[in-house]
Every structure is written in structure tokens, then in C-alpha cells.
């Protein structure tokens, strides 16, 4: 498969994520959209890594690292940690105000 397909897919995923974050008010859905954006980046990293690896195999490039794929693991680990913290915050929020609407909690402005 050509690299362009991956790029288009990940850009589409990323844009869906952004639009979701911008438009939705439900904290959990915003959260899911952020995950979507993260994974769009992950997809791109893996795709490029594979592309370079293939190029090196064909003798067109000098080096062929797997750094990109390693990065993806790191991002997944960090994302998992973030999810646990974020969900905990959302749970606490619901307990306090019985709502997960992000616009409801705007009292810090005053």
C-alpha cells in the first residue's frame, strides 16, 4: 500500500478528533477524540517507519531504524496513564456536579 493512503487516513482521523474536541461538550467524548488524535499520530509514525525500512531493504537509504515504532509504544503507555488520570477526573467531576458537561465548570473565570 502506498504511503499516501496512510497519510490521508491519519489526517482524516486527526481532523475528526479536532472537530470532536471543538464541538462536543461531553467530557468523555472529548476524551475519546483526544485519543483519536493520538492514534492518528501513531498510525503515521508506524507507516513512515515501515516506509523507511522498506527503502533501506531495497538499498535506497543508508539507515533503517525502528525508532518510529518504538515511539508508538511510548505514546501508548503515556496515553494509558493519561486515560486513567483523565477518567478519574471525569468521575470526580460527575460525583460533584452530576454532569460531565465541560462548559458547566467555568467558575475559575471569576
Amino acid at each position: 500500500m502506498n504511503i499516501e493512503h496512510y497519510i490521508v487516513l491519519s489526517v482524516a482521523l486527526f481532523c475528526i478528533g479536532i472537530v470532536g474536541v471543538l464541538t462536543r461538550r461531553n467530557a468523555i467524548i472529548i476524551f475519546m477524540c483526544i485519543e483519536l488524535m493520538l492514534n492518528a499520530a501513531n498510525l503515521l509514525l508506524v507507516a513512515f517507519s515501515k516506509m523507511h525500512y522498506a527503502a533501506a531493504e531495497a538499498g535506497k537509504a543508508a539507515t533503517a531504524g525502528i525508532d518510529g515504532q518504538l515511539f508508538v509504544f511510548f505514546i501508548m503507555v503515556v496515553a494509558a496513564a493519561e486515560v486513567s488520570v483523565g477518567l478519574a477526573i471525569i468521575v470526580m467531576m460527575y460525583r460533584n456536579v452530576h454532569s460531565v458537561d465541560v462548559n458547566f465548570l467555568n467558575r475559575l473565570k471569576h
Binding site: 467555568n106 467558575r107 471569576h110
Partner: protein, 642 residues
């Protein structure tokens, strides 16, 4: 000890120690102890100075380098003392007259509280220290340190009675006037450093300022020399009270009388003459400046002499007389009679110190009365003061064989040789001098007593500590001139000229002496002497019978008000300056600078209030802004950078 002049550093050290001891332990020391420390320090300096003087007389001169002082790049200024004929002579005058005045002060200031008494003596010692630095310094920087030091001490001592606002104002006036001159002096030093890279007077390998100038190495053009000498002269007009910066000296009489004798008559005010005599070669090579020096000196001499005619404060008369005599000295410097000027410094130190101390004795006896209109007939009550004061008056009037005659004659003869107009104006001033001195003498000591009954009851001769210095100074005033008897009266008798010849050798080699024949010189001498004698006679006869008791009118009123020079300065300098200060304080400060500063604060507050609205608390809008900003950044990266 191979060379006595290597001990020169002892001379300023003693007064410095005296200053520290008296200054730091002023609450512990008793009054007699304070006086002993203060006077003893100066006496020790005097002893060393005498030893040095005789060593110099035997031909030992040189520079004593203590330690490097400023070393920056090419410039090297050592802390060094120059011991030669000129400085050793000044050492004798300063420490000798200074010692007598210290002794006198011990009695004169006896009514002061012990801490203030010690403060007085410590200031006096500090002054002697600074003055010694001034005359011993081997370069213009050390000279300048002393120059500033004496200015500071002058300020401290004029304002010694600091509870009196008027005295403080006089002190500030003296300080500010001196500062104006000092700036010019400093500029002259920078000019020398810029052009020559040195400020040392003279060195063994002929690389000092005066050496380089004398060799005409071409580093200095005539314009440079004229500029430097003019700036130095402006410095001298401040310190030595010449037009236009002379007005501080009469006000400086606010200080205790011995201070007036030491600082404002005998020593500090002659610093300018010393400095010009030291750099005589520069002045010889700058005829324009010499002309200005002579003109200013003469103008000051006449102006101050006319003012002195109508003053009624005993110290003010002497103050204007000092200004006038300093003018004489500058006239001497201006016409190239450097020896004559230094000679007049010396004799003037004797008789003017004596006059001031005599005035102090009178003031002491009269319980701080200084107005001569309320004195009169003191001859009977103060015999020693009277006799010594009379001798000093004769000396300053220029009657032979008193000291003033010889030095004044030498300057006038040189002035005649340069330009007869100088002579006639100088001779006229000599007449005025004789007149106002004997007006002062006759009003104070002759006639009948005009003070209150209470004052008459307390009239007494001063204690021995005060009269002994008077007598010693009287001897010097009478005999001090005999070291400089002119060629025409006694061949080969001018010891001072021979002594100082090495200092002025370079200048002498460059000037063709306008020798005036003996007939003319006799004539000039007799004109001044007869004129002075007539003036003395007229003044004494007139004022012993009917002294001026009323305020002067007409032209006399102008003189009594000092030609309104203070008022003029007030009008053209002080008032505009005050107005400018008020303008700066009230308008520039309040309406411009404050407005700007407050405006900045207000602008920040206003914009913050507006920008705060963006912070809506809506998470969505924050994220939207974030995304938009990132898009803009990417777009900038994409389109602009390429």
C-alpha cells in the same frame, strides 16, 4: 639615612595622625591634650620641613615615590612627592605659619565644648595635611587630591558653627564656587593625559609634562597649551578667589578667625599661585593666557581694593584685602615675575596671618563684636595687638624696609617692564591698600572707644598663647622681605631669586628680560612709597578724629554693597537656576515624567481589563483558539519561511 628628602613623607603624615587622633578620640581627649596633639603634629612637620629646606638649599632635590597610585594602560600615576626649591619653601610657610595659628587657636577657641574643640583641631590638621599634599605632589593628580582636600576643609571650617544657617550657606557658597573652578582643573588634567599621556611634572629622564613642553616635542600645539593653561587658570580663580569666582572668600569669614588667617589668607588661597608657578613653563609658552592672567589679577586687585574702602566689618576689610593681594600675585604671574609672585605669597602669608590673628585678638577682647564702628581707642587696652597690627598694616601698605614693600615692588617693577599701564593701575591699588588698611587701623585702635560700657569693662589683652604668635609673625612681617632685596638697592642680595632660579630656569631662558634702568626703578619705587605714605597719613588723620559711623551714601554705598556683584550673580545665575529647578520640579517632573509613568500603569491596567474578556472559562473556546493558533503557525512556517 642617606638622604633627608627621602623622609619627606613624614611631613604630611604627622598632621594626618593628628587629624585621626583628634577626630576619633574627640570625646575622650581633654582640651589641653587636644591642643597639644594638634599643634604638636604641625610642629613635627615644621621641624622635618626645616631639615628638608636646608637639604634642598644644599642642592638635594628629587622625587620621593611612595607607591604606584593609578596604573591604567599607558598611563601611570605614582603617589610621589616632589621635593625642590618651590615645594620646600611652601612647606616652610604652611607648617611654620600653620603652627603659629594652631597655637593661637588653642587659646582663641577655648570657649568651645571639648568635642567641638577637638573637631576644630582635627579639621585644621586635615587641612594642613591636604595643603601639604597639594604642594608636595609630584604630578597634577596628587596636586588635585590636595586641591580638593583643602576645599573640603575650607567648607568644614567655614561651617564650623553649623547651627547658624547663614554660616552654612557661606560654606556651601565656598564649596560650590570652588567646584566650578575644579571642573576646569580636571578638564585640564584630562587634556594633558589625552595629549601627553602623563601628568607628572618632571622626571629624571625628561618625560614629565613640563619637560615635554619645554622640549617643544610638538605633542602640544600652542592652542593646546593655551587651552590647558586657561583651564588651569579657571581652577585657580576658584581656589584663589579671582574674578569671577571671588565672591566666596569674603563670605568665608563666617568661620573662626584663625581659620580665616590660615586658610583664607595665608595658605589655601595661594594654591592657585603655587600651581601656576609650578607650571610656569606652560604659561610662558602661552602669552595669550598670560595676558588674561595679568588682566584678571589686576582687575581683581582694583575691584577688591575699592570694596575694602567701605567695609565696616573688621574681617571683611581683611578678606577683600586678601582678594586684592591675590590679584597682585596673579598680576606678577601674568607679567612673568614668578619669583615676585611666590615672594609676595610668602610675605603676604606673614602679614595677612598677623592681621587676621590681630583681628581675632580684637574680636576676642570685644566679645565677638566685629563692627569697627563700635570699636575705637583700643590702643590703650590691647598694647601687644596694637603694635603688631600696626606693623602688619605698614608691611601691607608697602613701606620700606617692611616685607610687603619688597615683594610688591618686585611685582610692580616687572609689571612696568611689561606694560606701564599695569604699573600705574597696580600703584593705584597700592595707594588704595594703604588707605583702607589705615582706615581700618585708625578706626579700630585710635580715637575714643565707642562700644558699650559693658564691653569697655571687659576689654583685656589676649593671653600669651595668642600674643606670642602675634609677636613672632610681626617679626616675620618686618624682616621677611629681606630675603628678596632688589638688585638696585643692594647688589646680589636677592637670596630668594637665586634659590628659586632652577624652578623658573626654563621660563627665564625663553623671555627676554625687559631690564628697566636704575633711575626708572628708583622713580617707580619712590612713587609707590610716597603715594602709600600720603595715603597712610590722610587715612590716619581723617579716621582717628571722625570715623565713618553712618551708612555710606552715593558712590560709597555702591562700594559698601560690593559693587552689587552678589546681587548681579543672584540675578543672572542663581535666580534663573532656581527658576529652572522649579520648572523641572513642577512641570517636567510632575506633568511629564509622572504622567508618563502613571500613564504606563494605566495603559497596562486598561488593556488587561479588555484582554481578560477573552478568558471566558469555556473550554471549547480555549481549544478553538489553540487550534487556530497552531494552524496560523503552520501556515506561517509553510508560506513565509520559504
Amino acid at each position: 639615612m642617606k638622604n633627608i628628602i627621602d623622609l619627606a613623607w613624614l611631613v604630611p603624615l604627622f598632621p594626618l595622625i593628628g587629624f585621626l587622633v583628634n577626630g576619633l578620640f574627640r570625646r575622650q581627649l581633654t582640651k589641653p591634650l587636644t591642643a597639644i596633639v594638634g599643634s604638636g603634629a604641625v610642629l613635627a612637620s615644621f621641624v622635618v620641613s626645616v631639615l628638608i629646606f636646608f637639604a634642598v638649599k644644599n642642592g638635594q632635590t628629587g622625587t620621593v615615590t611612595l607607591f604606584p597610585f593609578i596604573n591604567v594602560g599607558e598611563l601611570s600615576v605614582p603617589f610621589a612627592f616632589q621635593i625642590d626649591q618651590l615645594s620646600s619653601l611652601f612647606l616652610l610657610i604652611i607648617t611654620g605659619v600653620g603652627f603659629l595659628i594652631h597655637v593661637y587657636s588653642a587659646a582663641y577657641m577655648n570657649s568651645e565644648e571639648p568635642p567641638h574643640y577637638a573637631r576644630y583641631f582635627s579639621y585644621l590638621n586635615l587641612f594642613v595635611f591636604a595643603m601639604l599634599l597639594l604642594v608636595m605632589g609630584a604630578n597634577f593628580v596628587i596636586l588635585f587630591i590636595g586641591w580638593e582636600g583643602v576645599g573640603l576643609c575650607s567648607y568644614l571650617l567655614i561651617g564650623y558653627w553649623f547651627r547658624n544657617t547663614e554660616y552654612n550657606n557661606a560654606a556651601r557658597k565656598a564649596f560650590i564656587m570652588n567646584r566650578i573652578g575644579d571642573v576646569a582643573f580636571l578638564l585640564a588634567i584630562f587634556w594633558m593625559i589625552y595629549k601627553l599621556g602623563t601628568v607628572t611634572f618632571t622626571t629624571a629622564d625628561q618625560k614629565g609634562v613640563l619637560d615635554l613642553v619645554a622640549q617643544a616635542t610638538g605633542q602640544l600645539t600652542t592652542a593646546d597649551i593655551t587651552g590647558i593653561t586657561l583651564l588651569l587658570f579657571i581652577g585657580a580663580t576658584g581656589k584663589s578667589a579671582q574674578i569671577p569666582l571671588y565672591t566666596w572668600l569674603p563670605d568665608a569669614m563666617a568661620g573662626p578667625t584663625p581659620v580665616s588667617a590660615l586658610i583664607h589668607a595665608a595658605t589655601m588661597v595661594t594654591a592657585g599661585i603655587y600651581m601656576i608657578a609650578r607650571s610656569n613653563i606652560l604659561y610662558t609658552l602661552a602669552p595669550v593666557t598670560q595676558g588674561i592672567v595679568a588682566a584678571i589679577g589686576l582687575a581683581t586687585a582694583i575691584l577688591a581694593a575699592t570694596i575694602a574702602l567701605k567695609q565696616n566689618d573688621i574681617k571683611k576689610v581683611l578678606a577683600y584685602s586678601t582678594v586684592s593681594q591675590l590679584g597682585y600675585m596673579f598680576l606678577g604671574l601674568g607679567v612673568g615675575a614668578f619669583t615676585g609672585a611666590v615672594f609676595h605669597v610668602m610675605t603676604h602669608a606673614f602679614f595677612k596671618a598677623l592681621l587676621f590673628l590681630g583681628a581675632g585678638s580684637v574680636i576676642h577682647a570685644m566679645h565677638h563684636e566685629q563692627d569697627i564702628r563700635r570699636m575705637g581707642g583700643l590702643k590703650r587696652y590691647l598694647p601687644v595687638t596694637h603694635i603688631t597690627f600696626l606693623l602688619a598694616c605698614i608691611a601691607i601698605a608697602g613701606i620700606p624696609p617692611f616685607s610687603g614693600f619688597f615683594s610688591k615692588d618686585e611685582i610692580l617693577a616687572a609689571a612696568y617692564a611689561r606694560n606701564p599701564v599695569y604699573y600705574w593701575l597696580g600703584a593705584a591699588t597700592a595707594l588704595l591698600t594703604a588707605f583702607y588698611m589705615f582706615r581700618l587701623y585708625a578706626t579700630t585702635f585710635l580715637g575714643s572707644f565707642r562700644g558699650t560700657e559693658d564691653q569697655r569693662h571687659h576689654l583685656h589683652e589676649s593671653p600669651a598663647l595668642m600674643t606670642i604668635p602675634l609677636v613672632l609673625l610681626a617679626v616675620l612681617s618686618v624682616a621677611g622681605g629681606w630675603v628678596g632685596i632688589p638688585e638696585v638697592l643692594m647688589p646680589d642680595a636677592h637670596a630668594l631669586e637665586k634659590f628659586l632660579a632652577p624652578i623658573f630656569a626654563e621660563s627665564a631662558a625663553r623671555t627676554t628680560p625687559h631690564a628697566i634702568d636704575h633711575q626708572t626703578e628708583y622713580l617707580l619705587m619712590s612713587i609707590t612709597v610716597v603715594g602709600a605714605a600720603i595715603a597712610i597719613f590722610v587715612a590716619a588723620a581723617r579716621y582717628r578724629k571722625n570715623p565713618e559711623l553712618h551708612e555710606a551714601t552715593g558712590f560709597g554705598k555702591i562700594l559698601a554693597n560690593k559693587w552689587y556683584v552678589d546681587e548681579l550673580y543672584n540675578f543672572i545665575i542663581v535666580r534663573p537656576l532656581n527658576w529652572l529647578s522649579r520648572f523641572l520640579a513642577n512641570f517636567i517632573e510632575r506633568d511629564v515624567i509622572d504622567w508618563l509613568v502613571n500613564g504606563m500603569g494605566k495603559a497596562v491596567q486598561y488593556t488587561s481589563r479588555q484582554v481578560r474578556l477573552l478568558q471566558s472559562g469555556q473550554v471549547g473556546s480555549y481549544v478553538l483558539l489553540m487550534v487556530l493558533s497552531i494552524l496560523i503557525l503552520v501556515a506561517v512556517q509553510f508560506f513565509v519561511k520559504k
